[in-house]
Point group: C2
Chain length 276, copies 2
């Protein structure tokens, strides 16, 4: 096997750096992806990532060979101390036109990247959110899954380059907060945690679901529902989370400020436990 340095890529199990120009992932964004963190040779929440992939594949009528994917991911992870594995599953090559190719020969692409080096202060002292003007379109057929149609995220992320903002808040067409560009959002209201529903737009994050389960198990159930801008601003604590960095407390959005409370630290500890 070639040396495992950042950029190393397997396509259908073979080391490659190029792919067919006829891939429908390129033509239409016709596929899915998962971003997996490797910790000491293991992939935390691997089964949850694979389960979301299967949900997405079902939504897109895409065949998904999870056993080959799991095997390749685990084998690569075992050779790493830390890093990021990005899995892309496309519908494979197509001819001209949107109609599904017959037979479908999905293509799996696994790319290795270095673990991003985030400032330690993000987790310790919290982050500020940039208020993105880009709003997510309402599309229940694609909401929740991690598909390759990501222009909304590209446009939202292009709105700022000031490193004072570690993330950007993205709302739906009604102006209700839904998520951040690469993470989910949790709000602490008087009666407990709330996270925005992602059944009309947004991504159903693996860490989001994990925290919902774990918080419920310790008597802190998380309600999943639409959230207004006013509710966000009236929250006592806010954090964002994903499966790469865990939990970052949110301490600012525009002129608004929050402090970091004990409930956020509790969620942060739950995330750290599963990622170590």
């Amino acid at each position: 096997m070639a040396e495992l340095s950042p950029g190393f890529t397997l396509i259908d199990g073979q080391p490659q750096t190029q792919l067919s120009v006829r891939d429908r992932g390129l033509a239409y964004g016709d596929g899915l992806f998962e971003t997996l963190r490797v910790v000491n040779g293991r992939i935390p929440l691997l089964q949850q990532h694979l389960a979301r992939l299967v949900r997405g594949a079902s939504r897109l009528q895409l065949a998904c060979d999870t056993s080959a994917i799991e095997q390749e991911l685990s084998r690569l992870a075992a050779q790493l101390d830390s890093g990021i594995l990005k899995l892309i599953l496309t519908r494979g090559d197509g001819q001209r036109g949107y109609a599904l190719p017959l037979p479908q020969q999905p293509r799996r692409i696994i790319q290795l990247a270095a673990l991003p080096t985030y400032p330690a202060s993000h987790a310790a002292q919290g982050i500020r959110l940039f208020p993105c003007a880009t709003r997510l379109g309402q599309q229940p057929l694609l909401a929740g899954i991690k598909h390759l149609n990501r222009l909304e995220q590209v446009l939202a992320r292009a709105e700022w380059d000031d490193p004072a903002y570690a993330e950007g808040l993205v709302c739906n067409q009604q102006g209700e907060p839904v998520e951040c560009t690469v993470s989910n959002l949790f709000l602490r209201l008087q009666d407990g945690w709330v996270t925005p529903a992602v059944d009309q737009c947004g991504v159903q994050g693996v860490m989001r679901d994990y925290l919902c389960d774990q918080l419920a198990a310790i008597g802190q159930p998380v309600r999943v529902r639409a959230v207004s801008q006013a509710e966000l601003l009236s929250s006592s604590e806010v954090f964002c989370c994903n499966s790469v960095y865990g939990v970052w407390p949110v301490v600012g959005l525009g002129n608004h400020q929050w402090s970091i409370g004990p409930n956020t630290r509790q969620a942060q500890t739950l995330a750290q436990q599963v990622m170590s």
Copy 2:
């Protein structure tokens, strides 16, 4: 130059069949495309295609070297009697993450395909539309342009495989007809032509705009606005159009039937004139 057979591809001017797995067109659908018909070595409506590409590039903050693109398209077309050239413009390679790469090095991909062989009856006796359940999401930031995020079209086109339906009607989230999967829609109401607005979703077709201009010039202005399902069903004539096949009269949608009227034949002639 390699032999010009279907599948022949130029990437940044060089004959290729593979592209970098780091291309953001694959990762995020971060790019645009145009589908151009070649007729006797020429590309009808080439300037209109390029103008739409420039509009899309501006929307996506993507650099667009139209002179290189125009030169390559024209040179390929000159070697063909007929065929389809598909141009894909991506944001080029990226690292991990949505943030725009600096510097951006967009990649242009031109793929040659054979002209599709449609039954002659489509143009002569009209087509039936499949009523797609897939609805387009509302996203003004991406509406009108021909970007690579096409999962909605993939899902809509996957709804039928009965060749009795040559196209599928697609509505917005409110259930209002917007377009077909690869073409735009025109309705004849008592006071003239109407075509659905594409400022919230849908593609602003090159043939659609050409026909709007040409029909206006002969005293048949086309109103562009939201259209209800009831208006569609009460229309006296309906057609769909694109720059590959021109105009196809629509004679059926579910149980509803239309006949082909003189106004549709007039539009069809206008399309034939520019495509010959």
